[in-house]
């Protein structure tokens, strides 16, 4: 067997010979055909309606509220869930942590503590209406990845101004690529047995979204 360094050189040499391209480093990204749809055509109301419709197709619960109603709406959703123990990222506004529930703020929580929580509340980076996708960049307020993975119930607070219609519009909003990202399109699911869709394999089984109408 060859040494690691030799294998690297061997593979790169093989590729350069095969492509007859001796250029070092990456080429300029230009001249590609990109005439697919970038921008959506829906008005603001229709865009939000599409987002809600798609989320509900995934069996996600969606409620809408005004910006000043967020704390009360969160409290109501938590109460409706019948759950008591919740984890939350430290970046969440203090007034969102409704009284009467057991909150564990993620100051380096152990995995087992997160696993034992019954739900999680986070913000989001963006929503894509076309596919009903919630985008997390795992910034403050969105939590580290494990936070939205182990608890069975996820409540996500999404602002109307964060909702775009098409996937390319999301990429236009992220000129600086994130180090970490998770795109969630409905709850964890499988169709591995006879193509029968079953909700909730390993990720959260319940996705809840509060859509905050922050646009006039």
């Amino acid at each position: 067997m060859s040494t690691p360094i030799a294998s690297r050189q061997l593979i790169l040499d093989r590729i350069r010979a095969a492509t007859q391209n001796q250029r070092q480093g990456a080429p300029v990204h230009a001249g590609l055909s990109r005439n697919y749809i970038r921008r959506g055509t829906l008005g603001a109301e229709d865009r939000l309606r599409l987002m809600i419709e798609r989320l509900r197709e995934y069996d996600a619960e969606v409620v809408e509220c005004a910006p000043d109603e967020v704390p009360a709406t969160i409290a109501a959703q938590l109460a409706l869930s019948g759950r008591r123990v919740f984890v939350a990222p430290v970046g969440l506004p203090a007034e969102w942590l409704a009284a009467g529930f057991d909150w564990k703020l993620d100051r380096n929580l152990a995995i087992t503590e997160i696993e034992q929580a019954q739900g999680v509340v986070t913000k989001a980076f963006c929503g894509v209406a076309d596919s009903g996708t919630i985008v997390l960049h795992h910034a403050e307020g969105e939590g580290r990845r494990v936070l939205t993975l182990l608890p069975d119930w996820h409540l996500c607070i999404l602002n109307a101004s964060q909702v775009v219609e098409t996937l390319p519009e999301y990429f236009d909003r992220s000129p600086l690529p994130p180090n970490l990202a998770t795109y969630i399109s409905g709850p964890s699911a499988t169709a591995d047995i006879e193509m029968t869709r079953i909700k909730g394999v390993h990720g959260p089984r319940f996705l809840n979204v509060i859509l905050v109408r922050d646009e006039s």
Partner: protein, 486 residues
């Protein structure tokens, strides 16, 4: 270094029987055929509906093909860019020229981690290099975590599809496997109960096993990031919870920029599972302190890919993003399922990819396992002209056989030689027709059909009838036409 492990007998192209032999076995299994056609019907229907709602589907395909072409034309540069970014972000990049080297690198990394167990996300590349048998031989227990892969692993079954690898099994077969291997005798065959059993079986493993192995759907050169697309959340578990993560990826998996995902992600889930997006897409870049594994390794696998790159017609094979739409639509795959292909890559894409990965030394029957109907090309999200590549590979296989056949006096070779001599001269052709008419008359029934031929001809008449030759040839009829005959 020496390796001792037993390779997959069914899906190792070096050991598997040729396609027609393997297919015969499957065609006699009505349960399997029913399972395969049910699953492929369901996916195809969902795919068709979601593709139809995308008015820019063809533009997306064209863009995707262009992006993938750009990657392949500049592959060395993009890989170097990826390596630099990934390394800067705290990842370690390894290069494996073939399957044996990839296995050795991974085993070495696992030894450094003192790993006796690993959790795995479904990855085609791992199956390609037969990693699991190698791990087993090294005393490392691998836990597959994708539901279908658990079914296969526990049931000692082989995958038969790229995206839904256990589609050849129905619910009662899955129930039997789970009940037997998990000790759950009262388990019902409700898919919900079966899924819950898998969830319970794995939960503790996710939380306690500190080493994971994954594949990747895409590598991003611009950022050094990786992307994994999945449905169940088992992928997120493996990518997030362990202390060390090893990702195995083919060298062709690179995309130039982060934003190129806007094309690929719109095409992938729609083509693969008939969804607008798969439930989870995970992106990570090297190591992020406080979030996810502390050690991250990427193993870049060549294993025959660079030789595919050097051939102009075949290069497009490497555009593939493993959506398996070509399998679901293929009239051959839909009848035979995946095992007949004797490769972890079945269906039309497997028929072109496998023999090439084997440097055309094995799996030469696969380019012929197609009716050339072109359905695979039509659904391919990156516009791989599979029929064109199939034809190119067929001609290579025939050229190989020509050399061997001449040596061994193969009857088909002699027949072809004879035919080419006969067809080269009009006089010889007329004589042959005349002789043939006399010879075949004996076998032609009263209905004008030949039902049974002796010797080599029996190979044809075993499964179909042959029309007898007419009393006169077209040329004789044409020549006689002016002389008052009709």
């Amino acid at each position: 270094m020496s390796e001792a492990f037993t390779p997959h007998p069914i899906l190792d192209p070096r050991l598997a029987p040729p396609f027609p032999t393997a297919a015969l076995h499957v065609l006699r299994n009505p349960q399997l055929r029913k399972n395969v056609s049910h699953a492929t019907d369901v996916i195809q229907t969902k795919r068709a509906r979601l593709v139809a709602e995308k008015t820019d589907w063809q533009q997306l395909r064209t863009a995707a093909a262009a992006i993938r072409n750009q990657v392949l034309e500049n592959l060395a540069g993009y890989l170097e860019e990826f390596e630099a970014r990934c390394t800067a972000a705290g990842g370690t990049v390894h290069w494996a020229s073939d399957a044996a080297e990839a296995r050795a690198i991974i085993l070495d990394l696992l030894h450094q981690e003192h790993a006796s167990e690993v959790i795995k996300i479904k990855t085609m590349t791992s199956a390609e290099i037969q990693l699991n048998p190698a791990l087993e031989a090294a005393g490392i227990r691998a836990y597959e975590t994708d539901l279908a892969e658990i079914i296969l692993q526990l049931g000692d079954e082989e995958p038969s599809h790229i995206v839904v690898p256990a589609l050849h099994l129905n619910r009662s077969q899955v129930r039997e496997i789970f009940a037997r291997t998990m000790g759950l005798e009262s388990l019902t065959d409700d898919p919900k109960a079966l899924t819950a059993a898998a969830r319970n079986y794995l939960r503790q493993k996710f939380l306690t096993i500190p080493t994971a192995i994954s594949g990747a759907n895409f590598l991003i050169a611009q950022t050094g990031s990786m992307a994994v697309v999945e449905s169940e959340g088992n992928g997120r578990m493996c990518l997030t919870l362990p202390r060390a993560l090893i990702t195995l990826a083919g060298i062709e998996k690179v995309l130039p920029r982060f934003a190129d995902l806007e094309v690929m992600l719109q095409l992938l889930a729609r083509s693969a599972t008939g969804e607008r997006m798969s439930p989870y897409t995970s992106l990570w870049t090297g190591v992020t302190p406080g979030d996810g594994p502390e050690r991250f390794h990427v193993v870049l696998l060549d294993n025959g890919r660079s030789s595919i790159l050097s051939r102009p017609t075949e290069r497009q094979t490497l555009r593939c993003i493993r959506c398996a739409a070509c399998l679901n639509t293929c009239p051959v795959y839909r009848q035979t399922g995946g095992h007949a292909y004797g490769s972890v890559y079945p269906g039309p894409i497997g028929a072109i990819l496998t023999p090439q990965l084997m440097h055309m030394e094995y799996a030469q029957s696969l380019p012929f396992a197609s009716s050339l109907c072109g359905a695979c090309y039509e659904v391919c999200p990156v516009k791989i002209d599979i029929p064109k590549v199939l034809l190119e590979l067929r001609s290579q296989v025939v050229n190989q056989e020509r050399v061997q056949a001449a040596r061994f006096g193969d009857p088909m070779f002699i027949g072809m030689k004879a035919a080419s001599t006969v067809f080269a001269s009009a006089r010889r052709f007329r004589t042959a027709q005349w002789l043939g008419r006399i010879a075949l008359r004996v076998f032609t029934g009263k209905d004008g059909w030949i039902h049974s031929l002796p010797g080599l001809g029996a190979k044809w008449t075993q499964t179909r009838d042959l029309r007898g030759l007419p009393d006169q040839s077209f040329r004789r009829w044409w020549a006689a036409r002016g002389k008052g005959e009709r």
